[in-house]
Amino acid sequence: MSVPEPISQLSAHMQPGRFGADGNTPVLLSERRRAIAQVMGRKGQDARLRAAIHGAFGLDLPHPGSSVTRDSAMAMWIAPETWLILRDGSPSDDLTRDLTAACGDAASIVDQTWGKSIIRVSGARACAVLAKGCRIDLHPRVFGPGKSAVTPIAHIHAVLMQVDATPAFDLIVPSTLARDFVEWLRLSAAEYGYEVVA
């Protein structure tokens, strides 16, 4: 059976190409498609939940402001007792099913795959682009790979996560606002030049 990819709200608005100013270090924009689920621990179940996620995914649920990655799966803290679990290469039904089987009644699991869009921004000018709408200090002495924050960006509720030191950032925004968000990213990146990649 073929594995259906999460449907993109953005594909028509992120056709690959080079845009904006000329230059040899364009900002790179791309959409990432991963299954996403929100895990909210129930009262007094913290230890059970951590053991369950560790057993099923090999992930140690991270502290506030950070994320952990193992193989194709990632866990990110977004609020007290609440994490996002992201996984590559599997349909969202499989992710929620695996999480529900592992956690039992230790947590509430909500599929967010179609409720969220993930946009990657990378390149030497990525911080300059984001600084136009994000008030978190992304300078390497403060932020860094694995760090994350839930914060409004360009007035849109976003989860921000630094992927590596390029720097590359993944931005998780509500899918209904993703088109507007990408529009803002394009305008912000135009003065540096940007490339939309598949």
Partner: protein, 99 residues
């Protein structure tokens, strides 16, 4: 821009992510039907309004979503300390009052 330390996110965050939510440590009576009107009105409508240090509830509404408490100097608008909901109001070192 004011930076506010969210005790749940464990990070300094910009003030636009937060909302003020009234005075802190205002306890609701376990059985309001036992109160006389004056005491009930006191609980509902009357708040302290100090010139100086004030204990307030704040909410990290555009971040983790949690309510927490803060001591803020109403003269300088300086947030002196923030702490998690349910924790006791912290004592401030003497020099914090006079700023």
């Amino acid at each position: 821009m004011l930076l506010i330390h969210c005790p749940y996110c464990a990070m300094e965050r910009p003030e636009i992510e937060f909302r003020h939510a009234g005075e802190a440590h205002v306890a609701r009576a376990p059985d309001p039907s036992q109160l006389d009107d004056e005491t009930w009105a006191e609980f509902l409508y009357f708040r302290s309004n100090p010139k100086g240090v004030h204990a307030e509830r704040w909410r990290h509404v555009h971040g983790c979503g949690r309510f927490f408490n803060a001591l803020r100097d109403t003269v300088s608008d300086r947030l002196l300390v923030t702490y998690k909901a349910g924790e006791v109001r912290p004592e401030l070192p003497p020099q914090e009052h006079s700023r």
